[in-house]
Symmetry: C2
Subunit: 439 residues, 2 copies
Amino acid sequence: MSNNIVKPSILPGFMELTPKDQIDFNMMLDTIKKNYEKYGFVPMDTPIMEKTEVLLAKGGGETEKQIYRFTKGDSDISLRFDLTVPFARFVAQNMSSLNFPFRRYQIGKVYRGERNQKGRFREFYQCDIDIIGNGKLSIVNDAEIPAVIYSIFKELGFENFKIRINNRKILNGFFKALGIVDASAVLRSIDKLDKIGEASVKSELLAVLEEEQVSSIMNFIMIAGSNTEVIEALDKLNIQEEEFTQGLNELETVVEYIRAFKVPEKNYMIDLKIARGLDYYTGTVYETILDDYPSIGSVCSGGRYENLAEYYTNQKLPGVGISIGLTRLFYQLREAKLLKSKEKESLCDVIIIPMDGALAYSIDTANKLREAGIVTQVYFEEGKLQKKLNYTNKLGIPYVILIGDEEMQSNILTMKVMSEGQQYKKSVEEAIDLVLANS
Amino acid sequence: MSNNIVKPSILPGFMELTPKDQIDFNMMLDTIKKNYEKYGFVPMDTPIMEKTEVLLAKGGGETEKQIYRFTKGDSDISLRFDLTVPFARFVAQNMSSLNFPFRRYQIGKVYRGERNQKGRFREFYQCDIDIIGNGKLSIVNDAEIPAVIYSIFKELGFENFKIRINNRKILNGFFKALGIVDASAVLRSIDKLDKIGEASVKSELLAVLEEEQVSSIMNFIMIAGSNTEVIEALDKLNIQEEEFTQGLNELETVVEYIRAFKVPEKNYMIDLKIARGLDYYTGTVYETILDDYPSIGSVCSGGRYENLAEYYTNQKLPGVGISIGLTRLFYQLREAKLLKSKEKESLCDVIIIPMDGALAYSIDTANKLREAGIVTQVYFEEGKLQKKLNYTNKLGIPYVILIGDEEMQSNILTMKVMSEGQQYKKSVEEAIDLVLANS
């Protein structure tokens, strides 16, 4: 051939999966989607490109450097770096036609030109839900979010995970009561506790605060125990500060209703160390930790905010939401061998292998299996039987149906059950029943 | 508020749907996906960005002008303009680990900076399947493709559509037999027949061919009748040209096996006018026309090609595939009022409205409904009952469960069936049965 061959490769920092991995990835994605829908969230899909002035309305910061931005024609275009900003834009843009409380989920790719490093991706899936009120939104919504998280991770096959819950008003109120005016540096230190340890946080705080304040803070964030015990301990602090009291009431209400949602006690806990960034969240905050693999950090985070779309409308739109970074989660679970893999390169339940002259009969059999909802492939190619069985084995297809003269004359199929290494004689109806009974 | 408000808007030429439309769109997408999977195609997901040198390996043409291309750091990046080129790159890149025949589907967004005009989108979904052989691929695969198309459009609610089938070898062979060396101009004219009409095609052809050749061509492409009649007519032409004979044999085989797949005769036809572009397809070609709305053109097209990845590997990889341009299809169906809409702004089967003090009981009831697989929302906000019922009405949720003191004491729920305007007393089990029986 005289073509110039270009070496096939993708850009660095992008994830592309093999069929086997893609099947596993899609199982996770479908589980998340199904659970989001079960709680009444509606789907949304926004363009991957937005006007730069709209996407960056909030103004730059660290994110801006990572953004994929370019011009085409007269347009200054940026690729979305999360799903929250486009969602805020969407709600502000469609205010008059939306019904509140508005519950939406969005699962889609976002883009960040991060430094190329292991486990960091420049294109990754976020799976978000948010509940938005027009003017106000009941605190009970904050209790439903952990129920959604619980449903998802349970169905993904995890038993041991903990949804950590806090309330930003409790932290803010506590700091105010201590006489700390600007809590942002303190919050930033506390956020690092799991990473840098207690001693380092303490010395960071001592650089900006009095020793007494620091020991109060350390004692405070270390309050531990059952959810009831923590709330009792917070009550006993007897802090007469409005924001603190409001936050504590909210946390009590959230915990009360999480119980109504029947999230097991072992799967959630109050954790006063959780702060979640600095300026966006204003009330309840969440992180989710896999007990068997805490080092990967939070696998599902979010919280309550006062105002979704302040850069696009003067309308006050409080909300609560969470995000699962699926690409990173998938990568980390696979690296840690915690992925519940199907170990299959095919979605087929059945493959039909026709002998010479049995093609039409095989197609007819496949029609019947598919009508019964069974995912079926017919092997159309020529070649030795062993080659065809190897193909089946490699794809991990659990049932093989062989059809030749004998099968066509008797209307009885030869069916190999790969997991048993056994071969049976079955009518097409019996074959369908067998597959459905085991799927 | 002192913020500078940025007007929320999206780039021109991008589609963004309301919740109601998005629900309808996703129904279509899920139907396509489910049917692709039922025939044993595995999912694939490639990055939206590729190296420009890889994406444009084939070289420019019209497409190149439309491409979203930019640099970031050292990378010359382009957004994919179809799913075929990334697929070819993927297969060449992963040759050694793939099992052939390799069947994949991919549903994803692609980007073309087209001139902004009604019904044309710069970001749109393509839904592709392809079957790839290593070196060779049985012609029977070409007969399965129409079966997949039929399954999809049937399930999308269409009865009257026609999959038009032709074979490029028949056209090429026929032209060769007429002594036409370069058939590309002829093919280009024929491709326009539906748009510009018979007379215009004829005059275009007369500019480059002899009158006798033109009348032969016109007679040839007008051959019509049942599939059997068309094949008989082609046989009777008695053209002794190798490529023609091969094409005719292929077409006969394809039609024979389409029958085995039980695609109804009214849903497919041989149409010798179908050429599908100029250089990519080499055998069977497909277009799909909605009989009630032929003006929207083909809603699902594709064909057989000799060599998927010639720009990335010397390995010969023949294949057959189709693509559905879902964004455009959705838009056109909606414009033509042919969309089978659910007319719902929510996926919920049930909404529970708690009276004062009934929140925990309502949450518990919702748990039970969701466990039974029923999509359920609890209305947590305060407000008048009428406001809550209006919300329910606007979202189009079919069942409302009201829970107050009476319901909690008796454990009998009040259930409104919105389609009937009737109210019933039901235990939670009866309520579940009622919803499941009607869903």
